[in-house]
């Protein structure tokens, strides 16, 4: 870690700029001053607070959740290619969410949170099954083994999703749009849905920042350094599942954010989790806000799902990291 303070200042500045751009640019230009100007045009105020702002905040929270979860997964698995999407955890969360919609499940006590909770359960189950299977195949948990397992389970869960969608019929289009990943037209309700889980999940991960540093040297080494590996690992996996599940439940599967952001952050500021987690959180928010901005403006008036943009950026980065790893470089 070089100059952590500068890293935080730069990241915060970029994030604020992204928020500013996100709320002002669009089919209707809304001047940034609307934020604080009481006497601003009523329509501009409406667009800003009812449409743009919730959208930007939601994008930010989803991006932040996925990025910090990705950073933690990569540290825990010592695998630069791990992220909620490549591990198949996002698919698991989708199945949980679609199942909730499909069966019309609503648990009174959970209310609004039924969807994210089921999504998280789906994420957590997938996570443990994927890791369990990968360990069965290869005790050393090779980079390729984990990714392959993620692909296997991702495909399987994808077919389960297709089956459920085929059986629903009328809501088909809506669910497909949701699956491709989007933060459009969600409103403040969705922010309420994700916010508590983003906070809890991120906090669980941040609590384990030193442990993640130790686990970069392997689980045995971490144990020698006094880390309660079993417990910490469980907490990190649960934290990651909460974040992934919450993100997927509000925005569908948005791939590669958890891969690209920690990778870039590490390149710029080093892989010390004491800073990496927080910085990935901030930069993840920035990235998804920008991607969403692109998604709705690039071929305006048509909107692209934001997942298309992240995949467009993410897949080449994935290829690049894979290449670097296999050629013996460091990520």
């Amino acid at each position: 870690m070089r100059k952590p303070l500068i890293a935080y200042i730069v990241s915060a500045a970029v994030l604020l700029t992204a928020v500013g751009l996100g709320v002002s640019i669009g089919s209707v230009h809304v001047p940034i001053s609307t934020l604080w100007n009481q006497g601003a045009d009523a329509m501009a105020t409406n667009i800003l607070w009812k449409i743009r702002m919730p959208r930007v905040i939601l994008a930010g929270l989803v991006g932040a959740s996925l990025a910090i979860a990705g950073a933690a997964f990569q540290g825990l698995l010592k695998n630069p290619l791990a992220d909620p999407y490549t591990l198949g955890v996002s698919s698991g969360a989708s199945v949980g969410a679609v199942m909730t919609l499909f069966f019309g499940i609503s648990i009174p006590f959970l209310g609004l949170y039924t969807l994210p909770v089921f999504s998280m359960v789906g994420a957590a189950i997938t996570m443990f099954v994927v890791l369990g299977f990968a360990k069965l195949v290869d005790r050393g948990l090779n980079m390729e083994t984990i990714i392959l397992t993620g692909i296997i389970f991702g495909s399987f869960l994808g077919s389960v999703l297709s089956l459920m969608i085929a059986l629903t019929g009328e809501e088909l289009r809506q669910i497909i749009g949701w699956l491709l990943g989007s933060v459009s037209m969600r409103g403040w309700n969705y922010i309420n849905m994700i916010l508590p889980f983003t906070i809890i999940g991120s906090f669980l991960l941040w609590m384990n920042r030193r442990e993640l540093n130790a686990m970069l040297f392997g689980e045995d080494r971490a144990k020698h350094l006094g880390v309660d590996v079993k417990r910490r690992k469980l907490v990190i996996l649960i934290g990651g599942s909460i974040l992934t599940g919450a993100a997927v439940s509000v925005s569908g599967t948005i791939g590669f954010v958890g891969l690209v952001v920690p990778h870039m952050t590490r390149l710029l500021w080093g892989s010390d989790h004491r800073h990496l987690l927080t910085l990935s959180f901030m930069n993840g928010a920035t990235l998804l806000i920008i991607c969403d901005l692109l998604a709705r403006t690039i071929i305006s008036p048509t909107e692209l799902p934001v997942g298309v943009i992240t995949a467009f950026i993410g897949a080449p980065v994935f290829a690049f990291i894979f290449y670097r790893q296999r050629k013996g470089g460091t990520a």
Binding site: M1, V227, A331
Partner: protein
């Protein structure tokens, strides 16, 4: 400090380590040795709590190891792992700081002055301070390993466990690392338990060795009690020879390769292979001979192919005799590391070279003898110190043991003395019987092929040949010398 009692366990159901008990005191280094699969690493992993134990107990600092919390355990036991690669890189300082993890409490950073001091001290101790802000990935293997030593030191644990710490390190780093470990035990009273692959390194640095075989203790004790030919042979199934370390009272061993291309081919040395000129007596062997000598160039024990006894003027005087000798040998095209060189003021043309043999054994003896003191005695100390007067070579066709070399030298010396007596050579100062001259040199070399010759005392056939041969050659040499000098006996 560490007390292991009846420890049994391993990976699966079948225990790899069976009923192992030992203890280690503060300031002591215990080395764990054993062939691959003997359970030495498993044993260490069980002590460090990575692998579960089925039976037995590990006590650390008087407390059962299982009763420690993970952080408490890490404050008492530091482990230095084998080297391996990592996916992500920390800076050196961040890596060493992790050694303070077991001292961190609370949710927020509780970095204290004590933590800072421990990290600084650990980095200084291992000499990695100057890499502080470098990524460990960009350091060499040896430097990386030092960073991990620093990390383990920052834990400030009284017990240090090392798992083949010198794997993949070149010898300079091996030495540095183990010197550091040694001084940690000596200066700071750390208790060290280390798994070793290299028996010689273990013997050099450990106070005691524990030799494992099939999960059990084959032998535990001082290095000299453990590194012994029969024990190593039976545990490792490898043919070895042990010998003393040249500088330290520690045993060392070397492998004995089984017969292959580089084994010596049998050959016989006889007097016709000697080249006697006015400049020198020379013998060049087709293969290296094991040699023990008091020569000027390459004295002591070694393997050499070329043997030179060089004539120098009686007034030869030089400040750096060894260097002058090297220049002489090089000028004549001799390979310095393969050559033994002596010098004599005697005419080398008068050398006596003869083969002595019975039905089994043959030896060649070469003597240049001079008993006169035709020089100013007050200068004899400076001048004649390197100019041999009676130079004796004994080349044996056979395989000599270490004791045979020494016995051959005794026998040869006695025969030489007897020759001086026969020739009635007296000490000119005291007028008593001379036993030799002040600067005699002796060389015993053997082909180390063919017949085993374990002894060379006068009672053996070899001793008889040496006794008779050296006596005869020396007598003839002295007679020739006297004639050349014009002394009539």
């Amino acid at each position: 400090m560490l007390q292991v009692t009846g420890l049994t366990g391993g990976y699966g159901k079948e225990p790899i380590v069976k009923n192992v008990s030992f203890n280690v005191q503060p300031g002591e280094i215990l080395g764990i040795l054993g062939p691959n699969g003997s359970g030495k690493s498993t044993l260490l992993k069980m002590i460090s709590g990575i692998l579960p134990k089925q039976e037995g107990s590990v006590e650390i600092g008087g407390k059962n190891a299982d009763s420690y919390s993970p952080k408490e355990f890490a404050r008492n036991v530091a482990v230095l792992p084998q080297m391996h690669a990592h996916a992500f890189s920390h800076t050196v300082r961040a890596t060493v700081e992790l050694g303070r993890y077991p001292y961190q409490t609370g949710l927020f950073s509780s970095w204290t002055a004590e933590d800072e001091a421990a990290v600084t001290h650990a980095m200084e101790r291992t000499g990695v301070t100057r890499y502080e802000n470098t990524l460990i990935e960009s350091l060499s293997g040896g430097e990386q390993q030092r960073v991990f030593v620093a990390q383990a030191l920052a834990q400030q644990a009284p017990l240090l466990l090392l798992d083949e710490p010198t794997n993949h390190l070149d010898i300079a780093y091996q030495q540095q690392l183990l010197d550091t470990v040694r001084s940690l035990a000596a200066d700071e009273g750390k208790t060290v338990v280390s798994v070793f692959h290299d028996i010689n390194l273990a013997a050099l640095y450990c106070d005691r060795l524990l030799l494992m075989e099939n999960g059990e203790i084959a032998k535990i004790g001082l290095p000299q009690d453990v590194v012994r030919e029969p024990i190593i042979h039976s545990v490792y199934k490898a043919a070895v020879k042990t010998q003393a370390h040249p500088e330290l009272p520690k045993p060392q061993m070397t492998l004995l390769p089984s017969l292959n291309g580089n084994a010596a081919k049998p050959f016989l040395v006889d007097e016709t292979q000697f080249n006697v000129t006015a400049d020198s007596v020379q013998f060049h062997a087709p293969q290296s001979l094991k040699t023990v000598s008091s020569a000027v160039h390459n004295p002591g024990t070694g393997w050499y192919t070329t043997f030179v006894n060089r004539h120098v003027d009686a007034n030869y005087n030089c400040d750096d005799v060894k260097k002058e000798m090297e220049e002489y040998l090089e000028k004549r095209g001799h390979h310095l590391t393969d050559t033994v060189g002596m010098m004599t003021a005697v005419q080398t043309l008068h050398a006596e070279v003869a083969t002595y043999a019975d039905e089994d054994i043959s030896i060649v003896i070469a003597v240049t003898a001079g008993v006169g003191n035709a020089v100013d005695v007050s200068k004899a100390i400076t001048r004649e110190a390197y100019v041999g007067t009676i130079n004796t070579w004994i080349i044996v066709n056979g395989r000599l043991s270490d004791e045979a070399f020494i016995q051959a030298m005794i026998t040869a010396t006695e025969a030489k003395t007897r020759a001086l007596q026969t020739e009635e050579v007296l000490d000119p100062l005291t007028g008593t019987q001379a036993t030799g001259t002040s600067t005699d040199s002796l060389l015993v070399a053997a082909t180390q092929t063919g017949q085993e010759l374990p002894y060379a005392g006068p009672v053996t056939a070899l001793g008889k040949l040496i006794g008779a041969g050296v006596y005869e050659c020396t007598v003839r040499g002295i007679q020739t010398y006297k004639e050349a000098k014009g002394w009539k006996s």
